[in-house]
């Protein structure tokens, strides 16, 4: 055989070509960069979050709770930045991106732009609206005050009063009828012959009443328009399209990998073929010795560089060569493998890992046709490690003497397999809890709804929202919050039926689809879950938390329109459950009156705000009596807050505190109470020095206030301003709130006690773990939780418990106060135990503060900014 130079070049070119294809298909098959992927998901999520923030801020602006626009502008900026960043990141995957991504991205951009435009409109009209609302109430007040003092004023007072009432009704429900009523009152007011001194205020009143009628609809429509611009929905669409693309890219990568694998085989055959030819041609060997050795070296290097395991055998199945990858996969080194039959080094078992598979080389050598596994099989190495592999075997023909041997290529798919299963799992599951995620849940829900429509199935959808999750997150950080979610998910999973589907819908919200389940059974399961959550105590670094949940239930029957409707109903029902008090279940009903309730909550917010500005709250107080001198007049009172509604009805805090807590207004209410009580006590002391020195007033502090770093200064400034003796004020903090935020509570108590204020720990004993904390909480009073006190006469256990708390308190130098002293027998029992003070209906009901302490006039809560002016007039 003559071996010329020219074919060498062709062979080199051939190998080069194959290598090029190999490299190209490797490069083309690269999946989306994982950093880019992470950034896209991050921007998407942040976009959705920013959108929710924006909606919240806008609502706060509309209700007058947020008084300037800087935070909104920041959020809008953030929205724009995130959508731009998404564009940039998505353009990096341009090679694989489709029209759909571009369209969805455009959708996001358009929604952001449209939303921003509506935000601008809203900002402009809302500024005017808030201005007119302010003028309206100011002018009305002025008119009524001035007119009240004149004989001619009566009709003016009456008409203005009606106008104000109607305007109030209008702002709550701006429909046509109320608009008309306002207009009628306006006409009536203008119909009065007004003396000149009223003219200015009447003009302002009418002008701004009209402005409100003009502006409220415009503002509300901008508000509803911008809330309807659901950037989050667009962003979710974009992410969903992108994730499809991502999955597709992964799949494509697989295809290219297979392509490169096929090319590798080709390459190997080619090399083997070259070997065979070279080996049979001694003459060529000698003549082209030099060229050959380089070529062989190159070929060997290539063989070893291939990412697949390659095993070459001769016609009998004896191994003639293995590459590095094959060495690693089989566990047999080149030295061990060469010369042995291939069946001795290649241990293939099927997927279950038990059944040994036949040696694939033998049939190929017999039949001369190539073979490849139809699905991945497991390769056991000499050391017992397992790899998922695809195997293909090809016969090598030699020139004329029949089969020259076989080449076996082992493609390791272990990582690919893992990746595939992980991706499909990740796409459908929540990474934190391992539960199904929202999109998967929505799909399953959609199927359930289809089933309900077509087959008449009935299911229940439950929406579960954790109460107090924020407390854990805020006091212990997000790591703790995450841990709580994980633990809770595990518990919930064990309590649902296997046919039920539990998913985490985001944040602290869970969805549960109870398949083939009626309302009664659904409630039963929900009750069970609720009980389970109630019993669960979450501990984190020595802190222990009660967790609660609210569950909204919706029957999934033929009349459910779609997933969005079902989820929205469930959300509303869950919200209603929360409103009804935490740890509850609410089943959605079509004419859900809870809608009205939620609406009313928002109105509570503006009522609270108004009350803070206009002193709409009233202070009540309940006496705290020394138990061994119960007949003496009380000098110690707990201050309680009541809201006086416009119709004169007195509202207990239970009605407005949930709204106040939800919208973080508790701190502002506390401040109002502090300012008002301090002002009153200051006045009292100045008007009659020395007469009230034994008075002690207790003020409750909410969790909001404890968390507010500026509260301390506020209290100190107010006290100084009103020249108050701090000894006369005691602040009350509930045990649970104090413990859940020790790092803030302790310094607050220490500073204020240093200034002379006193502190009481409320509801002591309700959290059973609390004795240990008592040492670290430098309080003056312990208020024994009323639930132990009220049955003290009959229940020996309660009796013992109160006795223990009392003794402990005294040992630690605290004064004890028993709550819920509802009758004389209880008072006597407590007195016998040596409890210092008692409080409860048996000793005195709450009465208005000004009745209890007549001189303590309820002055306007002083405006801190004009404090020096106030101080002068007060003198």
């Amino acid at each position: 055989m003559k071996f010329r130079t020219a074919p060498n070049i062709w062979h080199l070119l051939g190998i080069g070509l194959l290598l090029t294809i190999l490299t190209a298909s490797y490069l083309m098959g690269r999946p989306i960069d994982s950093d880019v992927h992470a950034r896209i998901l991050d921007h998407g999520r942040s976009l959705i979050e920013a959108n929710a923030n924006l909606d919240e801020q806008i609502v706060l602006l509309r209700s007058g709770l947020l008084r300037h626009y800087d935070p909104v502008n920041e959020t809008v900026d953030n929205l724009r930045r995130r959508s731009a960043a998404l564009g940039i990141e998505l353009s990096k995957i341009a090679g694989q991106s489709t029209q759909a991504i571009a369209q969805a991205l455009e959708g996001v951009r358009a929604a952001v732009n449209a939303k921003e435009e509506q935000v601008e409109r809203f900002k402009s009209t809302n500024a005017l609206l808030q201005n007119s609302l302010m003028y309206f109430s100011m002018a009305a007040q002025q008119l009524i005050v001035v007119a009240d003092h004149t004989v001619a004023g009566t009709p003016i007072t009456r008409t203005t009063g009606t106008l104000v009432a109607r305007m109030l009704a209008y702002t709550r429900a701006p429909h046509e009828q109320n608009t008309e009523l306002v207009r009628q009152s306006l006409a009536a007011l203008e119909g009065l012959a007004l003396p000149p001194k009223f003219a200015q205020d009447a003009r302002l009143l009418a002008q701004h009443a009209r402005a409100v009628l003009d502006l409220a609809p415009a503002t509300n429509s901008a508000l509803s328009n911008l809330l309807a611009m659901d950037v989050a929905k667009r962003a979710r669409e974009l992410l969903s399209v992108y994730l499809d693309q991502y999955a597709a890219a992964e799949q494509q990568t697989q295809i290219y990998r297979r392509g490169s694998y096929a090319v590798s085989i080709l390459l190997v055959f080619y090399l083997i073929f070259l070997f065979a030819r070279l080996q049979t041609s001694a003459q060529a060997l000698t003549r082209a010795n030099r060229a050959l050795s380089t070529q062989k070296e190159r070929a060997e290097k290539t063989l070893h560089a291939i990412a697949d395991g390659v095993i070459a055998t001769d016609a009998r199945g004896v191994v003639t060569d293995v590459n590095t990858v094959a060495e690693e996969l089989t566990g047999y080194g080149q030295g061990e493998a060469v010369g042995r039959n291939v069946r001795d080094i290649l241990h293939l078992v099927d997927k279950d890992g038990k059944t040994r598979l036949a040696n694939p080389v033998a049939p190929v050598l017999q039949s001369g046709t190539a073979y490849r596994t139809s699905q991945p099989v497991t390769l056991l190495s000499k050391f017992g490690t397992r790899s998922a592999v695809e195997v293909s075997v090809a016969p090598i023909g030699s020139d004329e003497a029949g089969l020259g041997g076989a080449v076996l290529v082992v493609h390791n798919v272990t990582q690919t397999q893992e990746l595939i299963s992980r991706i499909s799992h990740e796409a459908r599951h929540d990474s934190l809890t391992g539960l199904r995620n929202r999109s998967e849940f929505e799909q399953l829900l959609a199927e359930a709804i289809r089933g309900a429509k077509t087959l008449g199935d009935s299911h229940m959808l439950a929406y579960l929202d954790l109460d107090q999750f924020k407390v854990v997150n805020d006091t212990c950080g997000h790591v703790a919050g995450d841990e709580l979610l994980k633990q809770l998910s595990t518990i919930l999973l064990t309590k649902v039926r296997t046919s039920d589907i539990l998913a985490r819908l985001g944040g602290d919200e869970f969805g549960l689809l109870l398949q083939g389940c009626g309302v009664a059974q659904g409630q039963e399961i929900a009750e069970k879950l609720l009980g389970e959550i109630r019993d669960f105590r979450f501990s984190w670094k020595g802190h222990s938390f009660d967790v609660g949940a609210s569950i909204g239930l919706v029957p999934i029957m033929a009349d459910v329109v779609d997933v969005a409707e079902a989820l929205s109903h469930a959300d509303i029902a869950c919200y209603a459950a929360k409103d009804l008090g935490r740890n509850r279940i609410h089943v959605h009903t079509p004419d859900d009156s809870e809608l009205v309730r939620r609406h009313s909550e928002l109105q509570w917010v503006s009522e609270i705000r108004r009350s803070l500005e206009e002193d709409g709250f009233e202070l009540y107080c309940q006496p705290i009596l020394k138990l061994d001198a119960r007949d003496r007049p009380a000098t110690h009172f707990e201050i309680l807050t009541r809201y006086r509604a416009r119709d004169g009805e007195l509202v207990l805090p239970g009605a407005f505190i949930p709204a106040a807590e939800r919208y973080n207004l508790m701190g502002a209410i506390d401040r109002w109470v502090i300012a008002t009580v301090f002002a009153g006590l200051g006045n009292l002391t100045r008007s009659n020095p020395g007469a009230h020195d034994d008075l002690l007033l207790t003020i409750n502090l909410s969790g909001d206030s404890i968390n507010d770093p500026s509260l301390r200064d506020y209290v100190l400034i107010q006290a100084q301003h009103h020249r108050l003796n701090p000894r006369q004020i005691c602040f009350e903090i509930t045990e649970t709130k104090a413990i859940s935020n020790l790092q803030r509570t302790v310094p607050l108590i220490e500073t204020l006690r240093g200034a002379g204020f006193r502190f009481a720990l409320d509801d002591f004993g309700s959290g059973l773990s609390s004795f240990g904390y008592l040492k670290t909480l430098p309080v003056d009073f312990l208020k024994i939780d009323g639930s132990f006190v009220k049955d003290i006469v009959e229940d020996t256990l309660d009796h013992a418990f109160v006795s223990a708390i009392n003794t402990l308190g005294h040992v630690m130098g605290k004064t004890t106060i028993a709550e819920y002293v509802e009758g004389e027998a209880i008072a006597q029992a407590l007195q016998k135990l040596g409890v210092d003070f008692g409080q409860g209906f048996g000793l005195g009901r709450p009465i208005p503060l000004r009745e209890a302490i007549p001189g303590l006039s309820r002055g306007r809560a002083p405006d801190i900014w004009s404090s020096s002016a106030d101080a002068q007039t007060a003198d």
Binding site: A52, L66, H68, P71, N73, M138, K470, D571
Partner: protein, 325 residues
Amino acid sequence: MLILGVVVCTRLGHASDGRIPLDTATIGEPIQPIPQSTELPPQRVALGERLFHDVRLSKTNTLACATCHIIALGGMDRRARSRTAQGEPDVINTPTVFNTAFNFRQTWRGEFRTLEEQAEADLSNPRHANTDWDELLSKLRAIPEYRRDFSKSYGGDVTRETVLDALATYQRSLITPDAAFDRFLRGENKAISSGARRGYQLFKSYGCVSCHQGVNVGGNMFQKLGIFRDYFTARGNVTMPDLGRFNVTGQESDRHVFKVPSLRNVALTAPYLHDGSIATLEEAIQVMGRYQLDRELPAQDVMSIAAFLRTLTGQYQGKTLADTP
């Protein structure tokens, strides 16, 4: 309203664990103090400052940014209309360059979202720098100091991006914290006089604060000039720039709508309004009362509000901005 309420509540439902960031201070005061420092790279600020004062940024080598935005004069030139490159009066009053970082948009019409966009537009504006990038970059690259300093600050050549970044970074450094009023907001009760305190109360109770609010006491929203009365009919001779934001959006509802200007350092930035037609602070307060609120403010209230506004004069580089250079 009911439907609206439901929509609102549905949204808020997701924030039911109280995620709304709302501190009591925010409820309390509609005006917020200027942060006391910025964290900007000093080399870039210095480079931007040189560019800002360099007439070579204009085609004719006659106008620098600082020609109209005079740092020592409250960041503008005290003219109703600055002189253009052609030596004629410009079309609109030059706004101050101080605290522009806190504006949500730039210029009276608010067409620019960033200082970079605004700087680029002014560089190519025929009435202003009237230059283009080819010309400007080749001019700047020919100056060894710039080549050196750009390379030092940005590690590269003089480019469109770096020129704009330097200019914008410098402008972001032009903030005026520690105004007497800001010290008052931070709790120093005596930082402003009782007259100014009364003025602030009036500023709030008259409703000025509905629009002039936030860190910049303005600069964070759009509003119409002439809400309750027609300013432009009263003034007469309506020109294109008087249409305000309408020129940007073409929407009827944006006719005569402008970015609410910041009142920071307002005592130093006469004459007032977009047309520079009002000479004194007191007159400006009266005009605002008349057209925006439909009220003729009593002279005493005007004086108090003016006293309050004078407390908004802040400090630049540790010195209170002054009336005279």
